[in-house]
């Protein structure tokens, strides 16, 4: 089918490209824009490894066509660090709290957690677990992911982070 022109803003930069209508946003990001941070972890829209932040929403980029994202403002994991290159609070939290093992789910986790903290800047553990229900991890058992997000919330709120007792 004839290609369509799309333009969007990705990680702060304007992007123009030609895509087939059937090109999924995840494939567009990874293969045409070479942003390989978002991952493809399943075939069924369950795992969330492909999660991006699009127009202020957490979106599974494997379940959207690039043409549907025409005009959108998108942030991927590649756009999370601070302009001076230092890690943002979530990235720091995942490092400090060992919130990853293989790292495959991590870009999607951090991108989703970013929006979660925008929705609710002081989530309880239950709210965090419910809030990341669209992101699956096969390695960690989620405990340290939750801690990483709590760490980031505390840092963003300017309060000391207190780990719950085991």
């Amino acid at each position: 089918m004839a290609k369509s022109q799309v333009s969007m803003e990705v990680n702060g930069r304007a992007v123009e490209a030609l895509v087939e209508p059937r090109t999924l946003l995840i494939h567009f990001l990874r293969e045409q824009l070479r942003l390989t941070g978002p991952h493809i972890g399943c075939e069924t829209s369950h795992c969330g490894a492909c999660t991006v932040d699009l127009n202020g929403k957490s979106v599974k980029s494997c379940t959207m066509f690039a043409v549907q994202a025409n005009g959108a403002n998108i942030r991927t994991i590649e756009g999370m660090a601070n302009p001076d290159g230092t890690l943002d609070a979530l990235q720091e939290g995942f490092r400090e709290m060992h919130g990853l093992q293989c790292g495959f789910c991590t870009p999607g986790m951090i991108t989703r957690a970013y929006r979660l903290l925008q929705e609710n800047n002081n989530p309880s553990e239950e709210e965090i677990r419910f809030g990341i229900a669209g992101n699956l991890c096969r390695c960690t058992g989620y405990q340290n992911i939750v801690r990483a997000i709590q760490y980031a919330a505390a840092k963003l709120n300017g309060v000391p982070f207190q780990e719950a007792a085991e």
């Binding site: 089918m1 209508p21 059937r22 829209s45 957490s58 599974k60 379940t63 043409v67 929006r115 229900a133």
Partner: protein, 288 residues
């Protein structure tokens, strides 16, 4: 993983969308949030030659009051339902149900219209709409018509929609203030489709059930409106014996599939359990 090729259309009005779907015929599909259709296309279970994207049609968004009803645009996302103060105060069962649909990412994009129009027996909103007595606004080749949710579902993926039709809005009569409500959903894990689920709306007066409405999800080829079960409960105090009779009446209309969520007999029993829990929770919320 990679869908088949298609031509992409993005109309800016309902008229244009209906015209396109009518002209392009059976090989065209409307796409709303796409979180049922795109997964099917990725598996090549659906291979439309044309997609008509409803995402650019402003008239399909919005939540408004119209007399005693609230009218919700079909392209309203689950997230917008959850975030609506109007809906949370007037029709709180919607927020409770929506939070049990899928996961945050799916709720940001998935729409109410898509959830009710698709005819997928696993979708949660249809049974709730039947429970609420909702009416669907449908625009087609011959103009607008309205179809009661209770009359809309004919079989798995079969609804009252015909070629060229677009469901444009959902009209819900606002339940009386002080009503009790619950959506009780059994699932293997958070975000899964229901093993069995029950929607209950009721009003109480002097400690007795004044009105009751029950919907059941994913225990038949269509969502079910358990009219007889609800009638049994009306006038009762929700005493154990009457609830048991109502549950039996609800179980009797189920015909679930045996699948990875469990054998049919189990799912029927779980529909009964979900109904029992939903009745108790709805009762606890009701005034009177």
């Amino acid at each position: 993983m990679i869908p088949g090729s298609f031509e992409y259309h993005r109309p800016s009005s309902v008229q244009e969308a209906v015209g396109l779907l009518a002209k392009l015929g059976d090989d065209s599909r409307a796409i709303a949030g796409g979180h049922s259709l795109i997964p099917m296309m990725k598996l090549r279970l659906a291979t439309p030659a044309h997609l008509v994207d409803l995402g650019g049609i402003a008239d399909l968004k919005g939540i408004r009051t119209d007399g005693d009803d609230i009218v919700i645009g079909a392209m309203t996302t689950q997230h917008e339902l959850v975030s609506s103060d109007l809906l949370t105060s007037k029709i709180p069962i919607l927020r409770e149900t929506s939070l049990q649909v899928a996961d945050p990412q799916v709720r940001y994009v998935g729409t109410l219209g898509g959830n009710v129009a698709n005819g997928d027996p696993g979708n949660d909103m249809p049974a709730v709409m039947m429970c609420l007595g909702a009416i669907y606004h449908v625009m087609g080749k011959s103009g607008e018509r309205r179809v009661a949710a209770r009359d809309f579902y004919q079989g798995a993926y079969f609804t009252a929609l015909e070629g060229g039709d677009v469901l444009t809005a959902v009209r819900i009569p606002v339940p009386p203030a002080g009503h009790g409500y619950a959506y009780e959903k059994l699932k293997r894990k958070i975000g899964d489709y229901a093993t069995a689920a029950a929607a209950v709306l009721l009003t109480m007066s002097g400690g007795k059930v004044a009105s009751c409405s029950i919907g059941l999800t994913n225990v038949a080829e269509t969502p079910l409106w358990a009219e007889e079960a609800a009638n049994i409960l009306e006038g009762s105090t929700l005493d154990a014996a009457t609830v048991k009779r109502a549950v039996a009446a609800a179980e009797a209309i189920t015909a679930p599939a045996s699948d990875a969520r469990g054998p049919a007999a189990y799912r029927t029993k779980m529909a009964g359990v979900m109904l029992t829990r939903a009745l108790a929770r709805a009762r606890s919320k009701a005034h009177g």
